[in-house]
Amino acid sequence: MVESLARHALFADVPADALAALDVAIREVEFNEGDWILRAGTENCGLHVIIEGEAGVVIDGEERSRIHAGMFFGEISALLAEPVAADVFARTHIRCAVIDRDDLFPFLLANPSVTLRLLQAEVRRLADSNLWRA
């Protein structure tokens, strides 16, 4: 698990020993193909980081995008303490690392490099969406 996370952009700058220490705050979840991972309206879902496999994001009954290893989801709900806005299902067998909302704030405060990477990823999403509109 720690080895898989070390290659993920969010955790790429965390030293190996610090990453091992994070193990306590992170739990691993697995879903089979077709399973719901998140349902719209759910609260307290936590930050999900895809380690392996592919998921689909469904809004209003329609699959809007696919997400895969290297991506994460649930962060907006966790950071803003709002219900999840979309359904997410497993397109393949999928493994995720989850940091629950209650653990997320202290986790980010204790690991500024992860916070920076999270911020970079959010800003990249914003920049890309601006690029597409241009």
Binding site: R7, A12, E52, I67, A69, G70, F72, Q120, L131
Partner: protein
């Protein structure tokens, strides 16, 4: 041009033939793209930088970047988008037809942005592709981190960071990543490999953006080749050679590499493996001639500036005012080392980087240099006062130093000799300097130069001539023939119909020519200090064609030229040599061969008339 290729032959299992590659580039570096969809040679950011993908020199440890159909059935065709260096590899399988479009956008001068774009397209049916990206930085000597992002991957090594932007989710492997994706007709997926800062976060590329890059790259190459003034026979091959030469030009300095690869062997399993990612004075001088003949005055000006900088530096060693070769940025240190951890192309060790021949004495380079100045002065821009003063000093040096043994054009490592070719080109150096001085009324010791010129002439005619062979020979103490003397009539040292020349041509035809292909010399008769045999030298074959044409043997010349055209690969690209069974050998593609092709085509076309 295209050719059917067995898809089951993959670089992952074996080495592709050298000929089974196309080349893309951005005037700073190139990538070799195999017909199996594998990039197995890519040095970044410059031609002479350490490799990132080097599987062509070690399939296990070299690193590769492959995009190909998952099912290995069917055929492959590879072609250039017409009049460009945008490469298309087409896979025709039972499930459908798909293609990979490979190109490198040419960044404006001053920009450091460098991208290698692979756009995958489904043409028909349903195509499932596998992508494998396995970089090995610094010739596989440096480890790296692989970081997975939303829009791709970042490979971080101590000296270089590359981002691979893609919408496809890739799974990490031990040192890289792989993935699979399926496309329906007209669907595309783009992979952009880019040099980036360490903290970079890959972004998504829209289809429109990729299409714009594709069109801009196509437009760049088409606008460039449109400057060619050549309208004669074999125009497609001549244009392809010009495009290949341009690919090997390093835009920031105007220098041209001899070839963009290192250590592709002259003989499979042999040790004649050299690093050609440098600029030889000789090659650059000949390139200038070839490109001037096609009307590429800007490129010729770039080469001339580069050459002028070199002879103005006068930072020479004991071997004269110029080195025989330089790095593309003009630096003169090219220490040679061996990559012991690589097995070499099909086991052809050693793999060398750097080039130990840089310090050799090769007196011919002054002739080639001054001949190119003469041509540029005549067809391009008249020589400046300062450049002439520097050149006159070189002529003085040649007048004092021409009469000594050297390593010669073939860079033999078997000891110095009095090579006929080196004397010939020393004659050219002085003779052309006299012509420039007289035509432009420039100051110089012309009477003294003329005396030296005539002394060299008489020496070649007596000591370079072997009365028993009735031929000009390799050096003064041998009866061995050498294809380099084919330049005697081309440089106007001797009339192409002089009886001495015709018997020489006849002797070369009998001894060095095999089915129109020309060996540079008989290695058994003239040991060159290197182990192993070699193939025929493509540049010598083109010189032979020119010599035949100028001697009026037009039918022979034309047949030899047409035969030689069949030895290019499916894209019209040549390496340095051709093996006994027609395979391409040596570094690839080789500039010297392509410029000789241009020269032979232009001159043969002129001799044949309208």
């Amino acid at each position: 041009m295209s050719r059917a290729i067995d898809l089951t032959v993959s670089a992952a299992q074996t080495y592709l033939p050298i000929a089974e590659h196309g080349v893309i580039g951005d005037l700073r570096t190139v990538a070799l793209v195999g017909t199996d969809g594998t990039i197995d040679w890519y040095c970044c950011p410059r031609f002479d930088s350490p490799s990132v993908f080097g599987a062509i020199l070690d399939r296990k440890r070299g690193g590769h970047y492959r995009v190909a159909p998952t099912v290995h059935e069917g055929q492959v065709k590879q072609l250039y988008f017409p009049d460009t260096n945008v490469l298309i590899t087409r896979f025709l399988t039972p499930a459908g037809v798909g293609e990979v479009q490979d190109f490198m956008p040419v960044a404006p001068p001053g920009s450091t942005r460098q991208r290698l774009v692979r756009r995958v397209l489904c043409v028909r049916g349903t195509m499932t592709f596998t992508v494998e990206v396995e970089p090995r930085f610094d010739y596989g000597r440096t480890s790296h981190d692989t970081v997975i992002h939303e829009n791709g991957l970042v490979f971080r090594s101590p000296d270089l960071t590359l981002a691979l932007s893609t919408p496809i989710g890739l799974q990490p492997t031990a040192d890289g990543a792989r993935g699979q994706f399926t496309l329906e007709p007209n669907e595309t997926v783009t992979f952009v490999l880019e040099t980036v800062p360490e903290s970079y976060v890959p972004r998504s590329f829209s289809e429109g953006e990729t299409r714009d890059d594709f069109e801009a790259t196509v437009d760049f190459w088409r606008r460039w080749i449109a400057h060619s003034t050549y309208r004669g026979r074999w125009r497609e091959m001549v244009n392809r050679s010009a495009l290949a030469l341009k690919l090997m030009t390093y835009q920031p300095s105007g220098a041209m590499v001899a070839a963009p690869t290192t250590s592709l062997p002259e003989l499979l399993g042999g040790g004649r493996n050299w690093d050609y990612r440098y600029t030889w004075i000789r090659d650059t001088a000949f390139s200038l001639y070839a490109l001037l003949r096609l009307g590429f005055v800007d490129e010729a000006a770039g080469f001339m500036d580069w050459l002028t900088d070199r002879f103005r530096e006068r930072a020479g060693t004991d071997s004269g005012p110029l080195q025989i070769m330089y790095a593309i940025d003009g630096s003169s240190e090219l220490p040679e080392e061996t990559l012991e951890h690589w097995e070499g192309y099909m086991g052809s060790a050693p793999v060398r980087i750097g080039n130990g021949a840089a310090d050799q004495l090769q007196l011919d380079i002054y002739g080639e240099l001054i001949d190119s100045v003469y041509l540029y002065n005549k067809h391009g821009t008249p020589i400046s006062h300062d450049a002439w003063n520097d050149l006159a000093r070189i002529v003085e040096w040649v007048c004092e130093n021409w009469d000594q043994a050297d390593e010669g054009i073939w860079e033999v490592r078997g000891g110095r000799q009095h090579f006929t070719y080196s004397r010939l080109m020393s004659w050219v150096a002085v003779e052309r300097a006299i012509r420039i001085a007289r035509q432009r009324g420039l100051p110089g010791e012309v009477p003294r130069w003329a005396t030296v010129r005539d002394t060299i002439y008489h020496q070649v005619m007596t000591r370079g001539w072997n009365q028993d062979r009735l031929a000009f020979v390799q050096h003064y103490d041998t009866d061995v023939l050498d294809a380099s003397v084919l330049l005697m009539p081309l440089t106007k040292f001797v009339s192409p119909t002089d009886p001495r020349w015709l018997t020489t041509l006849d002797a070369i035809g009998k001894e060095l020519v095999s089915d129109s292909l020309v060996y540079r010399y008989n290695i058994e008769a003239a040991p060159d200090g290197l182990e192993g045999a070699e193939g025929t030298f493509s540049i010598c074959t083109f010189w032979y064609v020119e010599a035949l044409a100028r001697a009026g043997l037009l039918d022979e010349a034309r047949l030899a030229f047409e035969k030689m055209l069949t030895y290019g690969n499916h894209l019209g690209l040549y390496s340095e040599q051709i093996g006994a069974t027609g395979e391409l050998l040596g570094n690839f593609p080789q500039a010297f061969t392509h410029l000789a092709l241009i020269s032979a085509a232009v001159n043969l076309d002129r001799e044949l008339g309208p």
